[in-house]
């Protein structure tokens, strides 16, 4: 082979002094990095994905894992990654697949936005002693209230509210399908959603029987492949989400490799066992906003107008105008998924180069909806790379009603963002259907970790709001005045409509 092989990315070593030869590393690494030969444990560093399962499970802390020193001459333009990708493609002639979110080295806008706190004249509020209201309703709102006079002369509310989802915290768990991730991962998140009074998305994978007890906290998804979609499925969800696009891969469909389509997955998704589940790039019945309106309305009709319908799009350059169209389509909420959103598998070039960051997208969508007078009637949900409660608070201040978390929820269950989800071998039992691996994730334990995370962020959000003298989430939403930009250029500040630090 004229190209030779690519040098391994990681270097795994075992401290033989420490090792007690228990063999747990061999058992735990589903990628086959360790094997026994005679009385020796051998290591094939090339197979390591950096998932850190072995390191976490070694009882002797004997394993160390480092990024392999660069074997290439260092070069600012022709990075190791650039060269490796060329070698891979020269060899295979194929699209390079990658998992999880955008891994390119773009600065984060979130990190250059600073929140506010008050001093003296405007007392900060102590959430331990004062009520702090994070309750959020997602769905259509009237633009104004109407009243009528009763015969007795009393004034009475004439406006009827549309169905809304009631969230006790503005954090929801985004759509990750059964198939892409395991049943135990789904169960963990569903239990956590119920416990914390929020909602989770099913993804386009149907709804497994075991999730029925949590259906009151589930949002069912209708994607272009229509996998697992029938009336029973729609009726089980608390809300329905139409997925048009996804932040990690705007403009393309989904792909679940046949190896992940187990008997259970096949039954739940309503597809043949072992077959690839490919959702097309477009919905083949949606080629215009009118078509989308029809789908929104038919889903509402099918569920007797009792459920909110969301539309999810990827953050792309024209996102504000598209969202404005969606807002007028009878949809109850628009979900904007930013370019740092995660995925099971996406062409790397899409993951790293298509779409725009959620910060700019939310700000411009909020602005556009306000200009068109529809912002109050539709909810806006931000997703794609929300890493902590500060990102959450900043998203809300930029104009979101709530956020979806995806990768963060996976990390709370054990994921180490190794980016190999598409291979179906996730050693943490998350992005896999292999039963022995799935069993590694205990749904009770997983649920506790996910709900702990949501709870912790909720507490931090209350503290951040209290520090800014705000005791209800309504006053945080779209409150750009509580944000300042630090080392952001004028152009971005203008899109965000945020003043500079010190101003």
């Amino acid at each position: 082979m004229s190209l030779g092989s690519i040098p391994p990315k990681y270097k795994v070593t075992i401290d033989r002094e420490q090792c007690m030869d228990c063999g747990r590393c061999i058992e735990n690494c589903s990628y086959g990095t360790f094997r026994r030969e005679g009385d020796k444990i051998l290591i094939q560093s090339r197979k390591c994905t950096g998932c850190l399962r072995c390191v976490s499970m070694c009882p002797r802390d004997a394993i160390s894992l480092t990024e392999n020193p660069v074997d290439y001459r260092s070069h600012p333009l022709w990075t190791r990654e650039a060269r490796e990708d060329i070698i891979k493609q020269a060899r295979s002639g194929k699209i390079i697949l990658a998992g999880m979110g955008n891994a390119s080295n773009l600065p984060s806008i979130f990190d250059r936005l600073l929140l506010d706190a008050c001093q003296v004249t405007n007392p900060s509020i102590d959430p331990l002693r004062e009520p702090m209201e994070l309750r959020t309703y997602i769905g259509k709102k009237p633009s104004k209230l109407e009243f009528k006079k009763t015969e007795a002369g009393d004034v009475e509310l004439a406006t009827k509210l549309a169905p809304n989802l009631k969230l006790e915290t503005p954090i929801m768990i985004g759509h990750m399908s059964y198939g892409a991730i395991s049943l135990n991962a789904h169960l963990s998140m569903a239990k956590a959603a119920k416990e914390t009074g929020t909602f989770m998305g099913t993804g386009e994978g149907g709804l497994h029987r075991e999730l029925y007890p949590y259906q009151g906290n589930m949002i069912v998804q209708v994607a272009s492949g229509r996998f697992g979609v029938n009336v029973d499925y729609l009726e089980r969800g608390a809300a329905i989400e139409i997925k048009i696009g996804q932040g990690a891969k705007p403009g393309i469909g989904g792909h679940l490799p046949g190896e992940k389509v187990s008997a259970e997955v096949s039954r739940t998704r309503m597809i043949p066992l072992g077959s690839d589940a490919i959702s097309p790039a477009p919905h083949h019945d949606i080629y215009s906003i009118e078509d989308l309106v029809q789908l929104v309305r038919s889903l509402k009709e099918a569920t007797e107008w009792k459920k909110p319908v969301f539309v999810k799009i990827a953050a792309v350059h024209n996102v504000a105008a598209i969202a404005a169209g969606i807002a007028r389509s009878s949809a109850d909420a628009v979900v904007i998924d930013g370019s740092r959103g995660g995925t099971g598998a996406a062409p790397k070039v899409f993951r790293d180069h298509v779409g725009i960051p959620i910060e700019g997208a939310i700000a411009s969508v909020d602005q556009k909806l306000r200009e068109q007078g529809t912002r109050n009637e539709v909810s806006v949900i931000a997703s794609g790379g929300i890493r902590n409660s500060a990102d959450l608070a900043k998203s809300i201040a930029l104009g979101a009603d709530a956020v979806y978390i995806g990768t963060a929820a996976l990390i709370s269950m054990g994921c180490r963002v190794c980016g190999n989800c598409y291979r179906g071998l996730c050693p943490w039992g998350i992005a896999t259907q292999r039963q022995d691996l799935v069993d590694r994730l205990d749904p009770e334990q997983g649920a506790r970790q996910v709900s702990n995370l949501i709870h912790a962020w909720t507490l931090e959000l209350s503290e951040l709001m209290g520090a800014a003298g705000i005791n209800s989430i309504e006053s945080m939403r779209g409150n750009r005045d509580r944000l300042r930009g630090y080392m952001l250029d004028e152009g971005i500040l203008e899109v965000l409509d945020v003043k500079n630090a010190g101003a």
Partner: protein, 350 residues
């Protein structure tokens, strides 16, 4: 800080401005000499069916010509004059206060401009946002705002406040901490009949501002209070919500309380929060708002600023301090402090 005071006589018997000046000056500890102001209702009976537009002009040439042009496009100026003032030693005169008595043309109503009041709102926004050196600071009928940078006595003497007789008075003594001390930033803030005096800071300003700007209001006065006048105009006039409901939108009960209400009431309060969440005001505040129908006072939801109410027959007083009310009326009764978010409403007898 800041000191506020409000008064209404429900029988519309007028009171002159001398007492309100004394009551406000009593609260000088709550001010810093950077701004004071008064508003009185019922002061222009001769022009009761005209809009009284009070304008600060930086000079009487260019800005005034531009304002005149706009007014002539939309209606008739029935009378205009400089607002009488007396120079004060401690008060630096920065603008010329001017008043127009103005009637919009009927035939200009149409499309988005649905009423005479929409015309006035449009004129105020246009002048304040686009004409340098002109600022409309009062625009209701049979009422007027008088304000400047200075101590309460100086501002009162500058405008000869004791010469005016009104059946509603609001007054404000300013201690600015989050915006500059300038004439436009002094309270009361006014649009049409709505006048607002406020003690506190509105931490939800960014949200409230974005909300009202979606309805054509332009926040140009560099301070958070102006948004309150616009919220009252939007919810009270345009959406026709009863005053109590407006207060419930701006300072709603907590969800805990809403959850415990009987079903119809629960539905109403939930509907208010869902619909008017962006109008909800946060932060420490005590506010008194006046209109041609009466006055309403209320505080923030956890009562971080003081507000005291007193009554005497047909007279209702609302202030930051009981002592200020006692200066206005030593015979005052029923002095009490309202609960957080509770609207105190004073209306004219039918």
């Amino acid at each position: 800080m800041c000191g506020i005071i409000g008064f209404i006589d429900k029988t519309k018997s007028p009171m002159d401005g001398s007492k309100i000046k004394a009551a406000l000056s009593l609260m000088n500890e709550r001010g810093s000499g950077d701004g004071a102001g008064y508003v009185a209702y019922g002061i222009y009976p001769d022009y009761a069916d005209c809009y009284a537009l009070h304008v600060f002009f930086d000079n009487m040439v260019e800005p005034k010509t531009k304002v005149d042009e706009i007014l002539h496009r939309w209606g008739t100026v029935v009378h205009q004059e400089e607002i009488p003032t007396v120079e004060q030693p401690g008060l630096k005169r920065v603008h010329t206060p001017w008043r127009y008595f103005f009637k919009p043309f009927d035939d200009m109503i149409g499309g988005k401009v649905g009423s005479e009041k929409d015309i006035i709102k449009h004129i105020v926004m246009e002048v304040n946002a686009s004409i340098d050196g002109a600022l409309v600071f009062s625009s209701g009928k049979n009422m007027g705002v008088f304000k400047a940078s200075g101590w309460p006595e100086e501002v009162a003497d500058f405008y000869r406040i004791e010469d005016y007789e009104g059946y509603i008075w609001l007054a404000h003594n300013r201690y600015p901490t989050n915006s500059p001390g300038w004439w436009g930033g002094a309270h009361p803030f006014n649009l049409l009949d709505w006048s607002v005096v406020h003690n506190g800071e509105i931490t939800s300003y960014g949200t409230n501002q974005r909300y009202v700007e979606g309805y054509g209001y332009k926040c140009t006065l560099l301070t958070d209070t102006e948004v309150v006048a616009y919220l009252f105009d939007l919810l009270g006039r345009q959406h026709e919500l009863p005053t109590k409901t407006v207060v419930k939108a701006l300072a709603p009960p907590f969800w805990d309380e809403i959850d415990r209400m009987p079903p119809a009431e629960e539905e109403l309060h939930r509907a208010i929060r869902l619909t008017y969440g962006s109008a909800l005001m946060n932060g420490p505040f005590a506010i008194v708002v006046a209109s041609n129908e009466g006055i309403v006072g209320f505080t923030d939801r956890i009562k971080l600023r003081p507000l005291v109410v007193g009554e005497n027959g047909d007279k209702l007083y609302i202030s930051s301090e009981e002592s200020a009310i006692r200066v206005l009326d030593p015979e005052v009764k029923n002095i009490r402090t309202p609960r957080a978010g509770e609207p105190i409403i004073g209306r004219f007898n039918a």
